[in-house]
């Protein structure tokens, strides 16, 4: 099984606080891997490092064997790493459909030349629209396509960000707390989709702080506490790990 994403000895300090401390990990292809840990344990910091939004103090991140840390966030995204944000990021005053359309890579109409002289442009936009609608259908938002994103419920907005990741055609999806704040019904729906995405060949790495929630869906669980990796393995093993129990009883 090939490794898609690998982190080696990552460090990040914030004013003397070790947010990420000697953290190494690997994500195998086509797996659902969860990153769990208490609040403030460094989960989102790690995601920000992987996606280039934050520069680590040390260490390396390899995507399909190539180091990515010197690249700016948009280049990392274009390599095939999609992400969602914990505090939902979306274009609020733009339609749901346009949010998804924005996410397509290498659109000829995004280049000035393409806007005025691109012959493929119109054709390509039509195709993208079709695809975008199919992604919206996948997340169950096709009826809301013309609404402004700000008019969606919190759960629907989370689904929309997932649709955006799909339109990016990212191989690896980093989802920051995809189910936090959702109702049990919505959680079931979201997990169903994540499993579908795995079947489609995607690799998923997601953050969650509720230990129980991740057990049923993850192939592998990585546990982080105070910036350090304290456990890694299959959910059944993690459940018995004394360090994990300790971190959660604190």
């Amino acid at each position: 099984m090939s490794v898609v994403l690998e982190g080696k000895k990552l460090y990040k300090n914030f004013d003397g606080i070790k947010a990420v401390d000697d953290f190494s990990f690997s994500i195998e292809e086509n797996r659902i891997v969860s990153l769990i840990g208490p609040n403030g344990s460094g989960k989102t910091t790690l995601f920000n490092i992987i996606t280039g939004f934050l520069e680590p103090d040390g260490g390396e991140v390899l995507f399909k064997g190539k180091p990515v840390l010197d690249e700016p966030p948009h280049k990392i995204a274009n390599l095939g790493i999609g992400r969602t944000f914990q505090n939902l990021r979306l274009l609020q005053k733009v339609s749901v459909l346009d949010n998804v359309l924005l996410a397509f890579k290498n659109q000829s109409g995004e280049k000035l030349f393409g806007v005025y002289f691109g012959l493929k442009n119109r054709n390509e936009q039509g195709k993208n629209k079709e695809k975008a609608l199919s992604f919206l259908e996948f997340v169950g938002l096709s009826e809301k396509a013309e609404d402004l994103a700000e008019n969606l419920s919190y759960g629907q907005q989370k689904l929309l960000t997932l649709a955006c990741c799909l339109a990016m055609d990212a191989e690896l999806l980093l989802l920051d707390e995809p189910v936090a704040g959702l109702s049990p019904v919505m959680i079931g729906k979201m997990f169903g989709m994540i499993k579908d995405l795995q079947k489609q060949g995607k690799t998923i790495f997601f953050i969650e702080h509720n230990l129980k929630v991740v057990m049923e869906i993850s192939d592998k669980v990585i546990v982080i506490d105070e910036g350090k990796k304290i456990a890694e393995g299959e959910p059944s093993i993690i459940k018995e790990d004394s360090k994990v129990i300790e971190a959660y009883l604190d």
Binding site: T51, F53, P72, P73, H74, K75, A77, N78, G82, R83, F85, R89, L90, L91, Q92, K93, V94, D98, L101, L102, A103, F104, K105, Q107, G109, E110, K111, L112, G114, V115, Y116, N121, Q125, L148, C164, M168
Partner: protein, 291 residues
Amino acid sequence: MNYLFHILILIFIYIIISVSLNLISGYAGLISVAHAAFYGIGAYVVALLALNIGSGFIVNMICGMLLAGILGAIIAIPSLRIHDDYFVIATFGFQIIVFSILNNWVTLTKGPLGIPGIPQPIILGISISSHVQFLIFTGFFALLTFLFARRLVNSPFGRVLKAIREDEIFAEALGKNVTKYKILVFVIGASMAAVAGSLYAWYITFIDPTSFTVQESIFMLSIVIIGGTGNLWGSVLGAALLITIPEALRFLGMPSAIAANTRQILYGTLLVIFMLYRPQGLLGEFAFRRK
């Protein structure tokens, strides 16, 4: 009749200005108070080239657009690092610098005396000089600018501009090179403003630095805000209204010294009222949205 044409010509020139500023401030959300500087660069370049070198008007206008575009890129590049209020201050600084150069580099620009006798464009042996001719001439450029901008904002490129305004980090996470787009839109907007400046110089045939002050930049921004940000028709309407309304003051029989100040008060008041009661402007972004 000529008076009416005069007003229309000014409206056409200001449509070019407000449409181009709307791209920068309305669509991409980069509030700029340097637009009068780019407008001034366009005007001074055509005036100086025509008087000193005698080159043709099209060449002069393109030179003005190039210079404004290059300077636009130069001030947009620091915006890789600065955001929001700091960006406004950076554009403010640029505006002040350009004004100071126009006002103080006397050997080149003749400073506060201004440049009189700017040659008017000649097309196929016909000199563009009458009001009717200028009406068609400026109208043509206004239409061209509007169509150019409309194509841009309705394209995927325009979608990225809105994304930058709404959430830069989200756009970045989706793989958009935000920095590149910011620089591009600034360059486009700046060179369009230079077109308006050229038209102004040709029409009035006299320019001096007082037409290109920071107050003028703020007036341009008021047109965009009052007309409606993120809507090109809003910029057309805003230009028409804000050019016409002060003209009405003329008919109230106010002495010109008072009328000039009243204009400033009027713009300020309008801006405050709109900010309070209709922040999206007369025609907001979704004015034509079918529901």
